[in-house]
Assembly symmetry: C2
Homo-oligomer: 202 residues x 2
């Protein structure tokens, strides 16, 4: 029996409800629990909406938002690979590619290939839109760690140098003015001080 | 001391983290817990992205997505008013308007007024974009109830007539082809049958 386009679309929308059960390492800002990947995706879309002026290159904010809305859907099959979780390497890329094929493949053909392409563009991080999206995907958890007094850095015993190495390149490439703020925050954090305020922002 | 634009923007993005702690009446599809308003907003944005062809009028999908991303932010101050929670009436509108003024007012002026306008447009439900956004905001919890064997309808003792009255107008106005599917689901549900499949979709 053939499914109609609408049946496939509704099947996809039901399937991705599971993203709400994928738990990330990062806490909520009030530290009451860990963040899940669905609400993280919402928050990142809001970051893109609010902070688009800090993108390094010319970006299409609506494409960035679409990219961020679906960037973590693969975690439904592949799980979340934490930034401080050790070497994920080849295994991660393969698992996520398989997940993308299965999940976006639930949609009718034009949407399936459209969203698969958008996800692949995000992963490759070569276009201005993807570079900005990737920068925000690093910036948001860094902000959480700074404003929760350490978050996953404290949990995983991460050093200042590791923070620079793991967050710096992506944020610097896609949103250098946000990285300038991060550098101040991180320096203060590892000096045992609070986040303070970014010195020059607007 | 004056805050820079970036400080205000980051303050807003931190403040709206609290939307992750606003719990709605609707469950997740796996019934493990109630949905929160942040992940609900993500899911609705995905509904808009996937289902835009079912809008009644010509819509700008990206505007609809932006509207849905921020439509519930007011709940941080005003709380969630459940659809089956009895008469909210004037109190709700006033509380939400105050919340919108405070929360969007955290942003620098151009964004503050831009997002306040977009939220007001959603609330008024007069434009094609807002009508479609409102339709999805009713369609998603209806789908959840049908696919969880009753959800909030069972909890609150809601009848078929009440479902038609509370969900029908908004969905019919913004997405009549989706309402046609809902009518079949709802009829089957109240006849003690499962959701089945929509008869004609694509």
């Amino acid at each position: 029996m053939q499914s109609t386009a609408l049946e496939k679309q509704l099947g996809f929308l039901r399937e991705i409800d599971r993203l709400k059960t994928v738990v990330r390492q990062s806490p909520l800002l009030n530290r009451s629990r860990k963040e899940n990947s669905a609400e993280h995706s919402w928050h990142l879309a809001m970051y893109a909406l609010i902070l688009n002026e800090y993108a390094d290159g010319p970006v299409n904010t609506d494409r960035v938002i679409r990219m961020l809305l679906l960037h973590d859907v693969v975690e439904i099959d592949a799980g979340d690979f934490p930034i401080h979780g050790g070497s994920a390497g080849e295994g991660q890329a393969e698992q996520e590619a398989r997940a993308a094929a299965r999940l976006f493949g639930l949609l009718p053909p034009p949407q399936a290939s459209e969203f698969l392409s958008l996800w692949q563009e995000f992963e490759r991080a070569e276009t201005e839109d993807a570079k900005f999206a990737k920068a925000l995907d690093r910036f948001q958890p860094l902000l959480i760690n700074v404003f929760t007094g350490g978050g996953t850095w404290t949990e995983s015993g991460v050093s200042l140098e590791q923070v620079h190495a793991r967050y710096g390149p992506a944020i610097q490439q896609g949103a250098p003015r946000l990285w300038a703020v991060c550098e101040q925050w991180v320096a203060r954090h590892f000096a045992g001080q609070g986040p303070g305020m970014p010195e020059q922002g607007g």
